[in-house]
């Protein structure tokens, strides 16, 4: 049995995926906190414990994400764009567009029929439309993220949140609350605002794509999924564990490397 690992070291969460003989063996998510290296070690320890393996049994590690260069156990780094593409394609073999909304940024990736990345766009200038934005808004309503995700009703009745800036949008939301606007409508409006931001970036890359996959922690928010689908005018697919697609892709690259090496060694 051969084990490999992929780690996606993000600014908010660190995700680790372990493959055993090329199949999913375990996936682990820990809060990154202030120290990405320690967060990785924590996730790694959890994996070893869960799978009952020794560290040296993990033959190859690929790291990706914001903190990838600091992952000391990594043999290789790959950009998160390429990793997300790889991971999502493994789960959805016909995926054409990936929309990933993370803690502090969001990206849109376009794949060709063969699954190769042909274009991408990233928004990393401000937190509007990211997990951070939703976190802030959830706190205004004193709801945890799960509850918040379901508090937008059908989403069809929503107020307009005009301000793009996260901080000013929060002020706007508070103004709505004090005016007595229905909570459901405000929350639906917040979800629409996120969908709008993302749509603005994604539009150029979607162009007649039939299968769109939505990943990242924010994809666990049902309200956002609905708002995004309405904005795009088509359904999107969400993996069971939308947060780990980057780490999964990294792990798959690690696995490929093992295969290539053994092929080389046996003279293929």
């Amino acid at each position: 049995m051969e084990y490999v690992a992929g780690v996606d070291s993000g600014s908010t969460t660190t995700k680790l995926v372990v493959l055993r003989d090329g199949e999913l063996a375990g996936q682990y998510v820990v809060s990154t906190g202030a120290n990405s290296r320690r967060a990785f070690e924590k996730a790694f320890e959890r994996a070893l414990e869960h799978l009952k393996v020794h560290p040296f049994q993990i033959k190859f590690v690929v790291s990706t994400g914001y903190g990838r260069a600091g992952i000391h156990l990594a043999n290789r780094t790959v950009s998160e764009i390429t990793c997300h593409a790889r991971g999502v394609r493994w789960l959805f073999p016909s995926a054409e567009v990936i929309i990933d909304i993370g803690g502090q940024d969001f990206k849109v990736i376009r794949l060709d029929k063969g699954g190769r990345v042909v274009d991408f766009a990233m928004n990393d200038k401000c937190a509007a439309g990211t997990g951070r934005y939703l976190e802030l808004m959830g706190r205004v309503f004193e709801m945890d993220l799960e509850t918040f995700g379901r508090a937008g009703g059908t989403g069809l009745e929503a107020v307009e949140i005009a301000n793009v800036c996260t901080v000013f949008a929060e002020t706007e939301v508070i103004a709505h609350i004090s005016r007595g606007t229905e909570e459901t409508k405000i929350i639906a409006g917040i979800f629409n605002a996120v969908a709008k931001r993302v749509h603005s970036l994604a539009k150029q890359l979607i162009m007649e794509a039939r299968e769109i996959v939505f990943t990242g922690g924010v994809a666990k928010n049902a309200g956002i999924v609905g708002a995004l689908e309405r904005m795009l005018g088509q359904a999107v697919k969400v993996p069971f564990e939308p947060q780990i697609t980057g780490a999964l892709g990294a792990a798959l690259f690690a696995w490929e490397d093992i295969i290539r090496r053994s092929q080389y060694e046996s003279g293929i």
Binding site: Y66, E80, T82, D119
Partner: protein, 458 residues
Amino acid sequence: MSLEFSEMSRAVRSLEVVKESKKYLPKFYQRAQERKRKQGPLAWCMAGVPTELLVAFDVNGEWPENFGALCAARLVAPVFIGIAQAEGYFGDLCSYLLNTMGYCKRCVELGTPPPESPLEGGMGAPAMLLGSGVICEPRWKWFQAIATRYFPIPIFTSDPLSPPYDADLDDPRIAEHYLTQLREDLRAQIAFLERQTGRRLDVPRLRKVMENSQKALAIWYEILELRKARPCPMGAEDYFTAIIPQLYMLGEQETVDFYEALYKEVNERVQKGRGVISDEKYRLFWSGIPPWFNLGLFNYLETLGAVVVIESTYYCGPPMEIDLEDPVEGLVQRIWKRACWHLRNGAEAMPEVCVPAGFGFIGSKTILGWVKEYHIDGALMHRTRSCRATSVGQLHFRNVLREAGVPSLIFESDMGDPRAWSDEKIKAQLEAFLEMLDKGGLGEPARSTCEGPKYRVV
């Protein structure tokens, strides 16, 4: 972001001649001392003012745009920009401009060039302002503001209007329409210089100077053509230094000598099959003003196997044959002929074509030609947030390149404000882009941490 810790702030040049630029071009690199020595009138100029005129009139030149780049590289720009903003100049204006306005304000406050200025004596005490309306309009509004607010000295702004991209160039009336404007404008500029210097234009001198600039441009063009070779003998870190004589010293003998020496070295490399890097994996086209404070970006790309083989920024274009019997008319003809060349090559998104100083924008058709001639794998475009003139049109180029099957990356930063840069964000995009270009399969990883990052150390 702590700019002091940018990995890319120091560029390592590859060509020996470029490394020795300061030796070849003392008139530019030691111009502060030169000014003290020569004591002649000092003109603050916009790039776009024909340097041949400055040389012919023996006028010292100083370029606030170049000064802006220098201040950015020395991380002084944010100070001056802040002062300009306090004056009421908005942050979305050109960062070179903000830098200069802040600098001028400091001069006026202190009565001398500010000590924090990276050049000794700052930009000196100008006797006149030579503006240019070419490329973008802040460039003439800028000097108008300086003359109104800080230094009420004589000012001349030239206005070489460019025809629209769909102008009918075969109609001689249209040509005459624009040529008349160019001629009158140039004559007025010469008249201004005559008044300011108290001398008539030395026509034989100008003729000699134009001969120099023609020669220099021809050699420089040949050097750029040599970069078609595989592996490429010259990258962007060298281009953006070697461009200095073209921008600021066209007409000087030094410029001819520099380009001749450079040609020799680049040609030798091509003969020997020697490239900037031996393992050339990606050949890139570059668009936009570079991040002057982080030219090490190009070295970073080279560690990933990527070389910028041709740039649209400041591209001099093929040499134009002109008659120097009347050197003033010759200059007009050079401007016009190059304009026609650009207009015929897809100037729809970047129509500023009538540039006197031997540089300008590039058309979409030219870029498509380059894809084949320079064997381009991808396009890297720098969207400078405070320079719309060089950024607007890049999306269009990306569309055009996409049709031709060439991927592009447009990344954002600035040319004059170092705070706009983030190592992490830009590296992430560059790495992802190169992985996308990879022909080795489903995104072959761009680099291996096993061996650690490779940078050529100064």
